[in-house]
Subunit: 386 residues, 2 copies
Amino acid sequence: MTEVVIAGIGQTPVGEHWDISLRDLALKAIEAAIQDGAGLQPQALYIGNMLAPVISGQSQLGALIADYAGMGWVEACVVEAAGASGGAALRQGFLAVASGMLDMVLVVGVEKFTDQVGTVVDAALATGMDSDYEAVQGLTPNAQAALMMRRYMYEYGVAREVFGGIPLITHANGVGNKNAMFRKAISLETYTGAGIVDDPLNLFDVAPLADGAAALLLTRPELVPQGFPHPLVRISGSSLVTDALALHDRPDPLELKAVRISVERACRQAGIMPKDVDLFELYDASSILAVLSLEAAGFAERGKGWQLAQDGYCSLQGKLPICTMGGLKARGNTGGAVGVYQAVEAVLQLRGQAGQNQVKNAQRALVQSLGGPAATAATHVLQKLT
Amino acid sequence: MTEVVIAGIGQTPVGEHWDISLRDLALKAIEAAIQDGAGLQPQALYIGNMLAPVISGQSQLGALIADYAGMGWVEACVVEAAGASGGAALRQGFLAVASGMLDMVLVVGVEKFTDQVGTVVDAALATGMDSDYEAVQGLTPNAQAALMMRRYMYEYGVAREVFGGIPLITHANGVGNKNAMFRKAISLETYTGAGIVDDPLNLFDVAPLADGAAALLLTRPELVPQGFPHPLVRISGSSLVTDALALHDRPDPLELKAVRISVERACRQAGIMPKDVDLFELYDASSILAVLSLEAAGFAERGKGWQLAQDGYCSLQGKLPICTMGGLKARGNTGGAVGVYQAVEAVLQLRGQAGQNQVKNAQRALVQSLGGPAATAATHVLQKLT
C-alpha cells in the first residue's frame, strides 16, 4: 500500500469574519499550509464545504479557490457530506495520493456561516437533514439533537446536567488555542445556569456556527526532501461510512452505527484498536452527539458515555483526551471545514506543537467528523511517522 | 498502474420529472447500473450533483441516496464542480478504484432542475459563476454565453447562423435516443427562425434544463467474473483541470484553456492523440461552448470550430461524431448528471449498443463535461477493452 503523509498544515482563526471573503479565508489557510509544507506544490485541491451555494450563492469553489490561490490548471472540486465534508475531502485526498496518480494534494476546508443569520441559516443547515421528511416538518439540527438528548435522558434515567462534562472539557481546552472562537473555561454552575436553546439543550450543549478555513498538504513520504522542518504524520487509517439520513429510519435513534463501523474500519486499516489512540478529535456539534460518539466508538458502554467526561478521563491529562484544541464548542463549528481543523489540530499534537494543550507523548490520533446525526462518518487514524 | 473499467451503466429518461423525487431518480439509475453490471455490488457511491442544496433544499445526498438504495454502510459523498460535477465524480471514482482501496464504486449523476422555475433557477445557476464579481452584476450563464458568442462573431467576422450546425447535429442525434428529452430533428430554417433568448443566442443555442440520473459501475477487470454479459470499457485517461472562474480574469475569453490542458492530460495518459478518438461527447450547454471546445481540444483552428459542424465532419457518419446521443441540447442539460450521462452514452457506443445512433467500429471515446465557461474541465478517454 502506498503510504500517505501530511506534510503541511494551515488554519485561520475561527470566528465571525465579516471582513474576510470566502475565497480570502481559504487563501489564508492554503498559504499557511504551503509555507508550513516548506513550499511543496500541490497538483490538486479538494475543498470540504457544506453551504457556500446556499449561504454565499457560490458553488464551483474548486475552480474559484484554485485560481485565487494562483494554482494554475490544478485539479479541483468540492466534496460535500454536510458536517463530514472536511473529513470526506480528506478521504478523497488520501485516495488520490494513494492511487499514485497524484503526488501532492491540498485538502482545504472552508465555511462562512455568519454572513447570514436567523431563518436563512436555519433553512440552510436543514438541507443536511432529510428535506422531504424531516426539514419539511420544521425540524432543525438543534431540534433533532434535543430529541436525541431527551430520549437519552429517558432511556438511561439521567439528568440534563450529566451532559455538562463535554462543554466543560472543550471550553477548558479552548483557552490554550489561539485560533479558538471562545477561549474561556466554564464551570458546572455556568453550564447548569445557561439559557435553554431547544429543550433540553442549553446554550453550552450546542457548538456556535463560525467562519474559518483550514488546510492539509498530503503527499507520499519519499517525495519529502531531506531536512524537512517538521515530523511527518502518516494517515494510517481512513474510512467514510453512511447511515440512514433520517433519524426515524433507524432502528435505534441512540446508536450511531456509522461511527462504530467507521472507527472499526479505520482502526483495522491502521492495525490498531480504538483503545490504542492517544487522543480522539470527536464531533461535538452538540453534547449529545459527543456522548453518543464515545459510546459508538467503543470507549464506553451504551448509556455511560457521559461518565467519561466527568472523571477526567477525557481531559488533556486523561486516558483519552478529546477535542484537545477546544472542539466544535470552543474552537467554533466551521461546518465543512471541521474535519480539516480536527486533522490540523491532531497533527499539531502528534508533532508536539500543541503548546499548553499538548497531550503528553501523543503518537496516534483518532479524528472524526459527522454529517447530521452521523448519517455520514469520516474517520482517520493519524500516526507520527517514526 | 491499476486498470479501471466500467462494468455497468444505467440512466433514466431525461425530462421534466415532476412526479419523481430526487432520490427516486437516483435509485432508478442505480438499479439499472447494478442490473447491467450483473449484480456486482459497489462499496462506495460518488454523487455528481450541482444544485440540490439550492433547488431542492437537500445536501448530504451521499448518505440519503446510499441508504435509499439499500447500500448499507457504504462510503458516499457528493462531488461538485458545477456542470462538470458528473465528470468530477467519475474522476473521484476512478482514483478510488485506482488506489486499490476500493474494489467497486458507483458513480451517480443526479439533478432535478424543473421543480423550480424562473428567477429561483436563474439565481441557482448563477452560483456556478463568480458570485462576488459576476453573479452580483446580474450575469447569468446564458448571458455569459451570449457575450462569448458576440465576441466570437466580432473576432472572426462570422454571422450568427454559423452556430446552427451544432444544434442541427444534436437534434438529429436525439431522434435515435429513447432517453432524450427532444427527439425531433430541426432544419437550418427552424434554427435561424427561432426566438432570441439572450442576443445573439437563440432558443436552439441553449440546452434545456432537465431532470435525470445516470450511473456507472467502476471496478478492476480482474474482479469481473467470466462470462460477463457485456464487453468492458476501460478508463484509459482521466483528468480534471481548472481555469479562472470569472471570464474577465482570463487573458482571452475565447480560449478554453482548461479544455485544452484537460484533453492533453487525458490523452497523454491514454497514450493517444485527440485525433485517434472515434467520437467526442462534448459539452454543448450552448452552441458557442461546443464550438470553442472543438477548437480548444485541437480539432479545429481558432475561429474555425463551427466549420466542423457544417460539413458532416461531426455527424454520426463523419470523422469526429459529437454528442452522439443528442448532447445537452437534445438529450437535455441535467446539470451535475451530464458527465455521467455522457460516459454512459460513450459506453453504449463502445459496446456497440447505440442502436440507430451507432458510430461504426467505435473503439475510443473522448468524454468531457465543463463547469461554467470551462472553469472546470473533466475529461476521460474511454476505450473498448480487447
